[in-house]
Symmetry: C2
Subunit: 349 residues, 2 copies
């Protein structure tokens, strides 16, 4: 066996995990029973000051840390919550949206007893991540950016309390909790602004249309054009990446009859589009006005600085966490939380 026996483990060099102190040893040293130590661990209620003190000293002296597997098994809770990102690593790190979400989550979690476990679960063979979550390793899960398969989502949802970032892509949404940004309205705000500024030939670069964020923003765009009685301009898919945005822009230009304004469904894609326009000598905003979406850090990195729709990602992370924490505390928070997007006018439109 590769696992040292209890006693042997102790002697071993620090290079292997030494087998840890148990509650039993603490109890012995403190001269009390396991139960009393357990009570101290649980907050020290119904423990005499004397016992409390000697247990605490024993814990400190032995550098005791409770075994969490044993604890979870007995108490049926882990004090861990998972953030599942069904994206590949590159996308996860490349998109500032995730940074904001994580910041929001951690902000809320740091004042709680729960610990955040992050899982980057892209093409995870054998569903190691799913089984880990279903296996009872976390008390709840937050799932973002899911164009993932239904079975994947539903299996997790069935096993542990879940809160989604964005609307979950499942057939029957009843019973699902989520925090979404009003992307349809966001698309409307951007497009309306363009229309009000007098633009008449307005094109769009969309996100993946199999994702609600993608199709919702496009929906808002179309709504406004229709209300304004304008013909729907060209729409090309940009896949939420810089490269995709540039490629979509190129296709729009290649189609001839260039637009005088452009609604791009993410800042990253807007960056790609802007780069291409500038390379071709097309001026922004003079020749083509540009409105992005997200208000991510790149928006202000660009020159000219990007006019965009602010998406409250940190707040979304916070709200997701609040909802999950409420559920774990046995409360009944609203199933749907919708956050508002708003226009940030800068220099590209």
């Amino acid at each position: 066996m590769e696992h040292p026996r209890t006693t042997a483990g102790r002697q071993e060099s620090a290079s292997r995990g030494a087998s840890a102190t148990t509650i039993e040893e603490v109890a012995a040293r403190a001269g009390v029973s396991r139960s009393t130590v357990s009570r101290v661990l649980g907050g020290g209620d119904r423990v005499s000051p004397t016992a409390l003190e000697s247990v605490q000293r024993a814990i400190a002296e032995l550098d005791y840390v409770p075994n969490r597997a044993a604890r979870s098994l007995a108490s049926r809770q882990t004090l861990a919550i998972a953030l599942v990102v069904p994206e590949d690593t590159t996308r996860f790190f490349g998109d500032p949206f995730f940074a904001s979400i994580v910041t929001g989550i951690n902000g809320r979690l740091s004042s709680s007893d729960y610990l955040l476990n992050l899982f980057i679960a892209s093409g995870d063979p054998g569903d190691k991540t799913t089984n880990y979550l279903i296996g009872g390793n976390v008390d709840g899960a937050l799932i973002v950016s899911h164009h993932a398969s239904n079975t994947f989502l539903e299996r997790i949802h069935r096993a542990v309390p879940v809160v989604f970032g964005g609307r979950p892509l499942v057939a029957d949404q009843s019973g699902y909790y989520f925090v979404d940004v009003d992307n349809v309205e966001g698309g409307r705000i951007a497009t309306r602004y363009l229309v009000e500024r007098g633009h008449r030939r307005i094109a769009t670069i969309t996100g993946p249309l199999d994702m609600p964020v993608g199709s919702d923003r496009l929906q808002g765009f179309r709504d406004v054009l229709q209300e304004a009685g304008l013909a729907p301009g060209p729409a090309e898919n940009g896949d939420f990446t810089v490269e995709g945005g540039a490629a979509a822009m190129a296709r729009i230009l290649a189609a001839g009859d260039p637009p005088d304004a452009l609604f791009v469904a993410s800042d990253l894609m807007a960056r790609g589009a802007l780069g291409l326009l500038q390379a071709r000598g097309i001026r922004v905003p003079e020749d083509i006005a540009l409105v992005g979406f997200d208000d991510s850090p790149v928006a202000t990195d660009l020159a000219p600085r990007l006019t965009t729709v602010h998406q409250p990602s940190r707040e979304q992370g916070e709200a997701m966490t609040d909802v999950l924490l409420a559920r774990l505390a046995g409360q009944r928070p609203p199933q749907a939380t919708i956050l508002q997007a708003e226009l940030v006018i800068r220099e590209t439109a």
Copy 2:
């Protein structure tokens, strides 16, 4: 109690975690003992084809997933390994180094049974993360970017097998495993190139000097200048951020007598420095030659494209994982693995 009893849990709506199927129920349904089910779970050795089949069917029918807490408790392994990043969220996402490291780790781990758990452990009150790791929730840990406190590292190191990315900042390094890039040599390579190109007044922007990456690169820089008999140029600290790089550049310029070349200890800082130089109308590389460090994606985003020292981050993640996996398999991999850096000549020098 906030936890449903076993039976009640079953009836509850899917909004709470339903209590899971146990091995006992699977055994009953398959008409075998717990042990046989356990054997099937463990790979199906020493199980008759008949039993194997009926157990597998029972598992599928009941949608059974083993409880991992129980499993870990009994088997003393979790099949999870932690990646601990003692940095704040912004830094973690902002620095492409981490993206590469994670890519490397995941690449190696995906073909193993181990699952990667990511912990962004900055100022973690009460050491939730540390206690989680020490509590036996993972079989091993990878720790990167640690200007963290000694006690923090040592406590984890004492409890589970750890492999560090970079040299661990502890008094006594014996017993520690790590994978490092030869940063001293990297600093030398960059500086030597600048000297060979005929530059004589060479300045540097350093990383934090309390981090080995920071002090090592500076060391290499100084070595070469000394060997070449050149006076050490100005050295300013840039903290590994874009803003820090710009600020350091400004200080160097403010000191008067501008350098004709610059070694910047990270690409992100080089970006800040380059931006400032360009804003001041100083041409790169004509007026000041610039060599960065990391060869991160920003290197090729810049105009002119950055000459830099390639740091094999993905390989570092891979090597760290290989070493940890070897240790977990009971082997004795080398304690120190040193990866070589190399110069990538582009347009700034």
